[in-house]
Amino acid sequence: MSLLELDDVSVTYRIADGDVPAVRGVSLSLAAGEALGVVGESGSGKSTLAMSLLRLLPRDAQVTGRIMLDGEDVLAMKWGRLRAVRWAEASIVFQGAQHGLNPVQRIGDQVAEPLLVHGLATSDKARSRVTELLSQVGLPAWRARSYPHELSGGQRQRVMIAMALACSPRLIVADEPTTALDVMVQAQVLTLIRDLVAAQDIALLMISHDLSVLADVCDRLAVMYAGRVVEAGPSYDVFHDAAHPYSRALAAAFPTVGDPASRRAPRGLGGDPPDPMDLPPGCAFQPRCPVAVDECATEDVLLRPAGERRTAACVHVGVPAEETTR
C-alpha cells in the first residue's frame, strides 16, 4: 500500500478578486522508500500542493479531494492529531534555509525542539540524538552550539534536513531544497538526501523547477502545469523521452554540456504560463504548445496512458508515433 495517496486534490485560493484555482485535481501516490519529484514553473501549483499535504496553507485556501497519509485522511484530521503528525510522521524541508531557522537560537536547540515538543525524548536524550542527527547530515557535534549566522548556506540546509529527520518521519517533503545553493554544495546536499532516504526507507516528495536535478534524485517524476499533472512516469523516461510537449521543453531547457545539439542553441518556450484566474479554453498549455492542433483549443485533455507506468495529458499521446513527430 502506498504511504501517501492523493486523490483528486484541488486547492482554490479565495481572494477578494475571486477564486484562484492553484491546484486542479491532482492524483499521486508514493510508497515508502520511494522518491517522487514534482516539477513545474512558478505558478504551476507545485508548492501549494506540497503545503496542502500537511495543511500548511493559509486560511483562504480551500482544499478538496483526499490526502491519505499512511491510511489516514489528512483533511479530516483534528488539530491535535495534525500537530502530532507534523514532524513525527511527515516533515518538510523548506526552500529558504536562511529564513527557516530562528536567528537567535542555537542550532542544537532548534533541532531538539521537535523531539521535545512531541515528547519523544527527555532533554538529556535529546542532546545525544541531536549529535547523532548532526553527524548524519555531516556536521560536527560542536556545531550544535552555533547560531545560524555562523553557518554557510549549505550547512544551514543540512541543519534543516537534520530537523526534518529528528522525529524519524516516514515522509519528507522537500520544497526546492537546493535552489539557493552553489553547484558543489547542491551536489553535497542532494547526495545526502538521496543516501538518507535510501538508508532509512523514507518516502521523499521533492519539489523543484529543475527537471534535471529531480531526474537525478527521484525514481518517478510528475510534471505540473497550470495546477495539473500533465505527465507522470519513471524519471529516466520523462527526462529523456517525454510524452508531453511541455515536459520536452523543460528537459531541453537544461542542456547537457557536450551535447552538440544544444551548443549555441538555447531552447525555451515562447509565451508565459497562464494566469490561473484566466485559463485558456481547452488544453491550458495550448497557447504555448509547438505541436498544438485545432482540437487542443477546445478539448480539455486529461491524463491518459502513455506507455508502461506512464501517463500524459496530450491529444498526441496514444497516436502512432509517426503522426506526432514533426
Binding site: E41, S152, V183, A187, L211, S212, P255, V257, G268, D272
Partner: protein, 319 residues
C-alpha cells in the same frame, strides 16, 4: 583586439579585521562581438571582478582597459564609460522600480545621457529585447509582467544606451526553466545582430555551453582555467573544472568536493585549490605534490589560447 580587459587585477576588502583578497590577480579579456562566461561558485570573486570591470569597484592594483585605454575614474569619464558597458542584473524584480512604468524604466538611461528622440529610443530598445509591439508595454508596471518579460525590460534598459558590452550577472538564475532559453537566445541574437560583446557571470555551466564562446573558471580570486567552451567543458584539465562538470546531472562519475568554498581571507599557500583537490588526494599527483602544497602558480594570461593553472596538468603537458 580585446574590447574590455582586466590586467593583473586585484581587489581587496577589509573583512572583520582581515584582508579578503576577492580578486587576487586576474587577466581576462572580452573581444568585440565575443561572449565570455565567467564561471565559479559564490565567494570565488566573480561578481567582484564584474563590478570592477564596470567601474563600480576600484581595483587595489592592476588596470581595467576599455578599447585599449586604462579606465578613468573621473565622474565624467565614468558616465561616458557606462554608456558603453552596461550591467544586467540577476533579479529583474529587484532591479526594476515597482512604481515606474516600463517606459520610465527604459527611458531613465537615455535621459541621464540626454539622448534625443527618447520615445523612439525606448521603443527600439524594447523591440530589440523582444517586447513587441513596444507601445503595448509603455504604460505597464513591473507587477503586470511575467518574470521573463521583466528581464527583457531590464535588458531593454541596457540596450537603450546602445552599449558595446553587456555585463550580465546570472541573467537567468531567477527565471523559470521554459523562459530561460528565450532570454539566452536573446543574448545570442543581440551579439549576432548588433555585434554586442558580453561577459556573463554565472555558476551555470549549461548556460556557458548554450551561449558562450570562451569560458574562464574562477576559484578563490584567480582564473584557474580558460579557453574555448569546447576545450574547457569537454576536455577540462584543472581538477576544479573537472569536479564542477562531474556534479552536473547525468555525468557518469561524480566528484563531490567536500567542504565549503574556501575563505578569501585565508587563501591557502601553494596551489590555492590544493586542500580540496581530488587529484592530489587520490595520490595521482604524487610526483608534483610538494609543488602543489608550496609553490604558487603563475597568473594566467588573458590570451584566447587554452590555459590552466595546475602543477599536475602542466607537468603532463607535452612541452
Amino acid at each position: 583586439m580585446s574590447l574590455l580587459e582586466a590586467r593583473d587585477l586585484r581587489v581587496e576588502f577589509a573583512s572583520r579585521g582581515r584582508r579578503a583578497r576577492a580578486v587576487d590577480g586576474v587577466n581576462l579579456a572580452v573581444g568585440a562581438g565575443e561572449i565570455v562566461a565567467l564561471v565559479g561558485e559564490s565567494g570565488c570573486g566573480k561578481t567582484t571582478l564584474a563590478r570592477t570591470l564596470l567601474g563600480l569597484e576600484r581595483p587595489t592594483a592592476g588596470t581595467v582597459l576599455y578599447d585599449g585605454k586604462p579606465m578613468s575614474y573621473r565622474a565624467r569619464d565614468l558616465k561616458g564609460y557606462r554608456r558603453e558597458v552596461q550591467l544586467v542584473l540577476q533579479d529583474p524584480t529587484g532591479s526594476l522600480n515597482p512604481r515606474h512604468t516600463v517606459y520610465e524604466a527604459v527611458a531613465e538611461g537615455p535621459r541621464i545621457h540626454g539622448l534625443p528622440d527618447e520615445e523612439r529610443v525606448v521603443a527600439d530598445a524594447l523591440a530589440r529585447a523582444g517586447l513587441r509591439p513596444p507601445e503595448r508595454f509603455f504604460l505597464r508596471y513591473p507587477h503586470e509582467l511575467s518574470g521573463g518579460q521583466r528581464q527583457r525590460v531590464v535588458i531593454a534598459g541596457a540596450l537603450a544606451l546602445d552599449p558595446k558590452v553587456l555585463v550580465a550577472d546570472e541573467p537567468v538564475a531567477s527565471l523559470d526553466a521554459s523562459v530561460r532559453g528565450e532570454i539566452l537566445a536573446l543574448l545570442l541574437r543581440l551579439r549576432d545582430d548588433l555585434g554586442l560583446s558580453a561577459l556573463v557571470v554565472t555558476h551555470d555551466l549549461g548556460l556557458a555551453w548554450n551561449i558562450a564562446d570562451r569560458v574562464a573558471v574562477m576559484y578563490l580570486g584567480r582564473i584557474v582555467e580558460s579557453g574555448t567552451v569546447e576545450q574547457v567543458l569537454t576536455a577540462p584539465r584543472h581538477p576544479y573544472t573537472q569536479a564542477l562538470l562531474s556534479v552536473l546531472p547525468e555525468s557518469p562519475e561524480r566528484v563531490v568536493l567536500s567542504g565549503e568554498p574556501p575563505d578569501p581571507t585565508r587563501i591557502p599557500g601553494g596551489c590555492r585549490f590544493h586542500p580540496r583537490c581530488q587529484t592530489l588526494a587520490s595520490g595521482a599527483a604524487d610526483e608534483v605534490a610538494t609543488r602543489c602544497r608550496t609553490e604558487p602558480l603563475t597568473i594566467l594570461p588573458a590570451s584566447p589560447d587554452p590555459n590552466v593553472a595546475c602543477h599536475y596538468a602542466l607537468a603532463r603537458q607535452p612541452p
